[in-house]
């Protein structure tokens, strides 16, 4: 019961937060009606800005609120709600533009009154943020720069929108919008100051950086003067290396070490971008900060499962390795199947350790290589439905599946499993790489 109550509570709280301004409008005294389209448009504007007002809370990484869903899905939801919020604001403008054009006054900000210009600017800024977020990669905007501007521009847009509401004046319940603004300010202070400050007091020390196959590096961290964090195998954390937690410098990585051997943490990181290329230069003794754990990609959420299947592609093996190591440390006897896809045999991360885990686990290991070496007798090509059909055991519908790798691999595997009548609820994957 508790499993269901908690997500339902958070969903209802979300709906209450975004609907609050409209409920207050409906309940409270309002000026007389001014025409259905007009009042509809005003209500759309309030709805849109309430959605925007709660957007920041969605990405504030509240562990308790995100735990039932997985924080990746919260970001996914944030993205959907951004489009919906902007749609509501655009509709607010469009209705007035269409039905009451004279009420808009002049467009030129020199002639227009300040609050009308504030509203227009807010709409343009929200639109700009939406476009630069949905299409960040095609627009070639760097992730770190994007993040800073995302927060600055949305905060500016939100404040301008509140100024617009206060300027129009007639519907404003001063306390309501002050409340949303204070909520926003509290979140900024919490996310940018309080949490970094807490992280500053719980630093980690780099114990070692070792090379792995496939241009990846494993960073090992020990907590420095505190007990460290308890995590479930397969979870991830935001890692700050070579920088203060007060800067926008953290990146999410899966914990690849055993949860049974905490407090030591290991992260295996592949060289893919600007930040990950610097990992190999990290030296033992350097300070690191960890914000976590997050995520629901874990065997621990399914204690009654009769067995697990892992499908990994490239560095997607990292969280799977965390789960395998933990299961081995716990002497878990359940049957495990790992379909491990890589480009080349030389690039198989943890190749030797996977072999050494076999005697400790009931593990069936299937390597799939895109470019197999001469004489390779194993699977080759991509992970396909036919391959899964061949390797999965008869009780396939009862097992729990963990997919981690490039999106095409993950999607192919999902569709294949669905076709094999594996319930969707048993197929788990993280949605990463969304912006």
């Amino acid at each position: 019961m508790k499993d269901i109550a908690s997500p339902v509570f958070w969903i209802l709280l979300y709906l209450a937060l975004v609907a609050a301004p409209l409920l207050v409008l409906l309940a409270g005294p309002t000026p007389p009606g001014a025409g259905r389209w007009w009042d509809f448009s005003m209500a759309l504007g309030f709805a849109g800005i309430a959605v925007m007002g709660v957007q920041f809370a969605l990405t504030a990484r509240f562990r308790r609120a995100s735990a039932p869903f997985g924080i990746d899905i919260i970001y996914y939801f944030h993205r959907y709600m951004a489009v919906i919020g902007f749609g509501l604001l655009a509709a607010h403008y469009a209705v007035v533009r269409g039905a009451y054009p004279a009420a808009l006054g002049p467009l030129n900000p020199v002639q227009a009154s300040g609050y009308m210009s504030a509203g227009r600017t807010a709409l343009v800024l929200f639109g700009f943020v939406l476009v630069t977020s949905l299409w960040r990669k095609p627009l070639r905007i760097g992730y770190d720069r994007w993040r800073v501007w995302h927060v600055l521009l949305t905060t500016a847009a939100f404040l301008l929108a509140v100024a617009h509401i206060e300027g129009v004046g007639y519907y404003a319940r001063g306390w309501l919008w002050t409340g949303y603004t204070l909520f926003w300010v509290f979140l900024v202070v919490y996310v940018r100051l309080l949490r970094p400050w807490r992280m500053l007091n719980e630093p980690y020390r780099v114990v070692g950086v070792r090379p792995e196959r496939g241009q990846a590096w494993t960073v090992t961290l020990d907590p420095d003067g505190h007990p460290g964090l308890r995590f479930a195998p397969g979870q991830f954390a935001w890692l700050t290396l070579r920088g203060s937690p007060f800067r926008f410098g953290e990146h999410p990585f899966s914990i690849s070490s055993s949860a049974a051997r905490s407090p030591r943490l290991e992260f295996t990181i592949k060289e893919l971008g600007d930040f990950t290329r610097t990992i190999k230069d990290i030296r033992p003794g350097e300070t690191a900060y960890v914000d976590g754990p997050y995520g629901v990609f874990s065997v621990d959420r399914y204690p009654r499962a009769p067995g697990f299947v892992f499908v990994s592609g490239g560095v997607g093996i990292a969280p799977v390795m965390g789960m395998l190591r933990t299961l081995a440390d716990r002497r878990d006897a359940r049957p495990l199947l790992l379909v491990c896809a890589n480009a080349r045999w030389e690039d198989v991360i943890y190749r030797e350790e996977l072999e050494s885990l076999r005697p400790r686990l009931d593990l069936t290991l299937i390597h799939v290589l895109q470019e197999p070496p001469p004489g390779w007798a194993g699977e080759h090509g991509f992970v396909t439905g036919a391959l899964l059909q061949r390797v999965l055991p008869a009780n396939r519908a009862e097992l729990e599946y963990f997919l981690c790798g490039p999106r095409p691999m993950s999607e192919t595997a999902q569709q294949a499993l669905h076709a094999m009548r594996v319930p969707l609820a048993r197929v788990h994957f993280e949605l990463f790489d969304m912006v």
Partner: protein, 136 residues
Amino acid sequence: MRERLARGVAFLAAALLVLLALAFARVQNPAPRAPGAGAAAVPADMRRVLVEAGRAVYQAQGCARCHSIAGSGNPRYPLDGVGARREAADIRRWIMGAGEAEGRLPAGVRRAKQAYRKLPRRDLDALIAFLETLRN
């Protein structure tokens, strides 16, 4: 599976908000309003020039941001018939946020209106003459 839940909640939120907005529009406007009266009649008397100047002031000051005449402008505070409802002196006080208006307007609106005290006397007189012609 989890994305389905996220999409479901997102669409639920969107539907809830649009429904509440429609409900608000309906509660506020129980019956369709009578169509606005035709264009304001301009009396063909000596004040005609003054009235036309007032109309220009109305446009230049952007009064339609908060008011409407014959359905044009912000419908929240229509000025149709204001000339029949109020005396010239009363209209003057409402424009400038003085007298009775001072107590009844929200703070932000009062401030905006009190800025009109800086309007040239001639413009203000013209504006009032124009508003007085709005009799239905």
